[in-house]
Amino acid sequence: MASPADGAANGGAPHPYIPATEADRARMLERVGVPDLDALFSDLPAAFRDPAIDLPTALTEPELIALLEERADENADPARPNFLGAGAYRRSIPAIAAHLTARSEFVTAYTPYQPEISQGTLQSAFEYQSVVCELTGMDVSNTGLYDVASATAEACLLAVRATKREAVALLEPIHPGTAEVVRTYSRGAGLRVDLVPSVSDLTEEHACLVVQQPDFLGAIVDLEPLAEAAHASGVLLVTVADPFALGLLRSPGEAGADIVTGEGRDLAGGPGFGGPSLGLFAARSPFMRQMPGRIVGRTQELYPPPDGAGEPRTGYVLTLQAREQFIRRERATSNISTAQALIALAFTITTQALGPRGLREAAELCYQRAHDASARIAALPGYETPERGPWFQEFLVRGPVPAEDLAAELRARGIGPGLDVSARPEPEAREALLFAVTEATPNAHVDALVAALAEIGGGA
């Protein structure tokens, strides 16, 4: 059987992705004036040329599909009930988001360096910036960073530049992954990262206070008093907000935040084992020229259209580029270049398809379903759902058996349990699992969960 890389052996193209045939190659080599392909690599050190490399042999397209379908099936059954949240949530994504995002003019373009033939990417990015500003209550958004955690780290670096202070404070409970990434990014800049249990731990050494909304254990945070306390010490408030929850919750900007970050992946598509993700990053206008990443601005044509039909038309360009690495090099606000444009497009289409009422309704539905599930569990003998104030879509469950055993019992019944948070310091988290129920969690899954918990409780 011929392997796909053997086409060259009979004079054909070497691979379906590589068009030049043997005859093409001969003609081109002659024009270039070298005898063979190897001659083009003569600058490479002879002693190290063409090493043995152990890679699996090539697969044809049907073989590739079969292999990867088999792999996908080795993951947990997608239809299985699963109550993990803790940073990644199941959402109802409108069909048009995936459909439109798959258009190859969007998919196969790159950074819009040539605006005249990149208006699709640029105008979509302007739509994205507009949506993010509306949701967060900020003045300026960039076109998106890698993910929520790296965006939050960039927010800390901005706060450090803006305040000339060298420590940042993260308010607990915050996602441990976010805290970890802030630490990673702070290492280079030599910043101190303090995890603080209370806003009273802020000092004038802190550049910013980072607050997650809703917090890592699901509670809705009253941001306004935190903003006031932070600002009283000259500390900026960075809010790490779930953009979906912002369909219901007051915007962080209105509550006094200076910078807002967030994770956009869930509104763009499935959790996908965490990525591709999308880091929202928006700020108040005084920080505009300190922002990391690309920003799109609106402008006009320099010349009217050639048909003489009228005025210069409106278009979009990458702007404020004097902040960026390709111009400013070691004095740039960040090293970021390629980010997550296509995910930002999907995020934009989902939020715009839902629209103002749809996003509110979906967030309220999420709230109602989660609270209903929590109440049903709390009503089971031996279970409690300790609350830390109002909450959105995640709740703590403490059962009649230790958290670890409860998780194992649920798994044994084909149900993915919430995250084990029993090692956390908050008293409500003691022996607890953190369950997420969203607008997209099927009723039958909640029923199965309640039944399984009742059964586990009955045997305890």
Binding site: Y17, L84, A109, G190, G274, Q300, E311, Q321, I327
Partner: protein, 497 residues
């Protein structure tokens, strides 16, 4: 008499926010049938939200119209130098979208994500083999994050050697991508720029002169942004190691050498790859990409978390290296992109990857000889994956800038090359055809470039206004930066920015 052309819509003037009508909706949300529980106190809630209100069909038309105002690789030749704009196999998108992959939760126990994890493990091994640097973390989301990881790994290694306080400088050639110096600065180092030698290679004398106990690392792009191999880099590596510093490799241009030489064999300590370039995952209009970082055994304990490992019980798990620099993202990187890169690697195999680099290099050289004489070629020698011409003759003799040439290429149906980069070439036109362009496309592109050189002689004025056939004309970038309008505003509202 010809009929007058109907006036075209100023499409960009009306965003989705300005379209549709209040009360329209593109999707419905199910009603909640259970007991209504009270919402949190109103001071925690939003009282208004401004988003577009369009029917489903209107929204689809709007974004379809936007897509038609974009040029991608699937639209035509896109020879953007150093970006490796090659054909993106559609099967890669297909396989990565399987429900089993798409729904895997990032906090899942390893047992429930073996399909994803085994795929990542095999990609990790493949990249380790292909680069000769066996320790790999797939976590970085893009090249720049891979660079940051690599430099932070060097930071940690120096810390463990007790030399972090003294080794505060990183040497970066002046031909490097801007991300290199920006990364070094972000990691807290001072940047010393190394000029390029007359033949386009690293200036070895300056490196030798600069290498002392204050140097942490040298960052080298190999092949470099002129499309040239750094001859004798293996000896430079010895010099760098002899001085106690590390050799960082920017692998953005790996496409040129896949299967031909390996960074690890040449003495590179740590390298990042751009999978959206060499491994042909879609560029997406600016991401998502993936920038895995590959390193020597010495630096392996410092790799970013997570690293994919096969454990003794046969399960594949995500692990944290002993002295890891930490996580770069909340979860595990751009996994969907990594699955596509794995599919690409499996579709090609070693023979295929060698065919890729061979044809990519032949195509760049073919373009070089086709354009030779029509444009200045400051480094006039055979190249690897890309060739950098200069428009300085056109500028000097006819007042036509590279900017004009690029814009005119749009009228000819091509995406322009990278322009004004690398910074060391005046009026630079940096062209990377990649292996997926057929010879006819390269010939057509060269013919367009030659036609434009003739237009520059005969009718230079005409070129200043190009493009004329694009969805929109040349845009006023200066005003955009001076008076920024960065978001939709209701008509009549002042821009906040």
């Amino acid at each position: 008499m010809t009929l007058p052309r109907p006036k075209t819509e100023d499409f960009g003037a009306r965003l989705s926010f300005d379209r549709g009508s209040p009360g329209r909706r593109a999707v419905d949300v199910p009603a909640w049938a259970g007991d209504e529980r009270p919402l949190p106190d109103t001071h925690l809630l939003r009282d208004s939200l401004r988003l577009p209100e369009l029917s489903q069909g209107e929204l689809v038309r709007y974004y379809t119209a936007l897509s038609a105002r974009n040029f991608g690789i699937d639209s035509g030749t896109y020879p953007l130098g150093s970006c490796t704009m090659k054909y993106n196999p559609k099967v890669d998108d297909l396989v990565a979208s399987s429900a089993g992959f798409a729904t895997a939760h990032p906090q899942s126990p390893a047992e429930e994500a073996q399909g994803t994890l085994r795929t990542l493990l095999e990609l990790r091994r493949g990249l380790g083999e292909a680069t000769g640097l066996p320790a790999v973390s797939l976590a970085p989301a893009a090249g720049a994050q891979g660079e940051l990881a690599g430099v932070l790994m060097i930071t940690r290694a120096l810390e463990d050697r007790g030399e972090l306080e003294t080794r505060r400088r990183i040497l970066v050639p002046d031909s490097a991508h801007g991300t290199n110096p920006a990364t070094a600065a972000m990691a807290g180092f001072a940047v010393t720029q190394i000029p390029t030698a007359a033949d386009g290679s690293l200036d070895r004398a300056t490196i030798e002169q600069e290498l002392d106990e204050s140097v942490a690392a040298v960052m080298v792009t190999a092949p470099n942004t002129l499309g040239l191999w750094e001859q004798g880099i293996e000896d430079v590596a010895d010099l760098i190691h002899g001085a106690g510093a590390y050799l960082y490799g920017d692998g953005a241009n790996f496409n040129a050498i896949m299967g031909r030489v390996r960074y690890g064999d040449l003495g590179f300590d740590v390298v990042h790859l751009n999978l959206h370039k060499s491994f042909s995952t879609p560029h997406g209009g600016g991401g998502p990409g993936a920038g895995p970082v590959c390193c020597s055994e010495e630096l392996a304990p410092y790799l970013p978390t997570p690293v994919v490992e096969e454990c003794e019980d046969g399960l594949v798990r995500l692990t944290a290296p002993e002295r890891s620099i930490g996580q770069l993202q909340q979860f595990h990187g751009n996994v969907g992109v990594l699955i596509r890169a794995y599919a690409y690697m499996r579709a090609l195999g070693l023979k295929g990857l060698r065919a890729v680099s061979g044809q990519a290099v032949l195509n760049a050289n073919y373009l070089r000889v086709l354009l030779h004489g029509h444009y200045d070629l400051p480094y006039d020698r055979p190249v690897l994956h890309e060739v950098v011409f200069s428009g300085s003759r056109q500028r000097r003799e006819h007042g036509v800038r590279t900017y004009d040439i690029a814009k005119r290429l749009i009228d000819h149906g091509f995406h322009p090359p990278t322009v004004y980069f690398p910074l060391i070439v005046e009026e630079a036109l940096m062209m990377e055809p990649t292996e997926t362009e057929p010879p006819e496309a390269i010939e057509a592109f060269a013919a367009a470039m030659i036609a434009i050189a003739e237009e520059a002689e005969e009718d230079p004025e005409e070129l200043h206004g190009a493009p004329w056939t694009a969805p929109i004309g040349r845009l006023d970038e200066a005003t955009a930066a001076r008076r920024p309008v960065l978001r939709w505003q209701e008509e009549g509202a002042d821009s906040p920015a």
